[in-house]
Symmetry: C5
Subunit: 98 residues, 5 copies
């Protein structure tokens, strides 16, 4: 999975019928130090993530293994909201703190 | 999904029989600020997108989850026409305006 | 799909039995201006493409959706020979001309 | 598969129900000389890997071919702990030594 | 498929039970001029390739379409040993010669 931050939303009325009802978020990739990267993805959401939250998203066919995305033309899906990240025994991200 | 702009069309007569009838668009990748990137993809279309429109496209096996692309040798498919994109509470793209 | 030019062939005698009989082409990626890129792929062929032709190829599981590649360990397949590419209302490639 | 080193952990309480019980590791990509690369992935674990260990991880649908990850929205999975790597007849990594 | 050279081996005892018995090779990517690239992959082998040989490998789900890799958490598989590569009507690689 990749680590990202939810930074925005995409609104679409003309879309494939199979994605009706899915919320589409702009997710910006993050480094291990939780800094912004240039790359981003538009992802569906299976966990009621909110703007600003640090999340994990799955890509490819794995993005279709949630109840919300099964059988849909979705290649990226937020499947976890991150509480804490620990790297080299250092807490680099704490949702309650950061 | 990736964000792109439909910039052109590809015409092919000698093609795999399974892609007969599919419209093939050249889609240029866009940044979060809706500026052109160098990368592009040739994508099928499940939503009657038109030249110049900002769209989302799905890649890989997810591109085959629409009625139009099911079971076909297609690895990129436009599955939404974008109306609005909001990033950090700022409207960075509005189809009616831009 | 990606846009490429067929530039060469690969000959292999010791190969997985499932790819017996498949022609394997070296396909060089092209820019939107139909200039060579550094990247390339070795692709199977479902459309009888020839050296020098501009083609589209599908990657990943989508490359296995043709009659020739179904169920085979093939992750790239030429599925269309390009006749014309039109970008921003300009004919950037015409097989009869270029 | 890619070669990486387990450098951290990700804790998440709000997550897709299908990933309950899976341990999620931060895995940093390694060069052939076993030096750190900038890129990383968050991967599930099917082999009880520990922090600091050099591992192999599989990506995409292949990451779902283990008993632990089958049918789950997981696109990266550690499936081997590396004991030794030999390149050009030189032992570049030995778990017992390095 | 990608073009690579088998440069090394990976030994692992603690691994997912489904990859037992598979030989894992370090494969370095090659340019069209058969020069080394920085990138590499660890791949399973379905063709009894040897160190030093130029090979093709398939990635993703296509890597699981061989008898040896079916249903296993393997995302890269050597599926051909290359004898000859011809580019722009020039023999750039000949196994008997190079």
């Amino acid at each position: 999975m990749k680590l990202g931050r939810v930074v925005g939303t995409v609104v679409s009325t003309a879309k494939d019928e199979k994605i009706d009802g899915l919320k589409l978020y702009v997710v910006r990739d993050l480094s291990m130090e939780i800094t912004d990267r240039d790359s981003f993805v538009v992802a569906a959401d299976s966990v009621n993530a909110g703007i600003g939250e640090v999340v994990l998203y799955a890509s490819g066919s794995s993005a279709r293994q949630t109840k919300q995305t099964d059988g849909r033309p979705i290649d990226a899906c937020i499947m976890a909201i991150v509480d804490q990240i620990d790297i080299d025994n250092r807490l680099v991200f704490d949702k309650g703190r950061d």
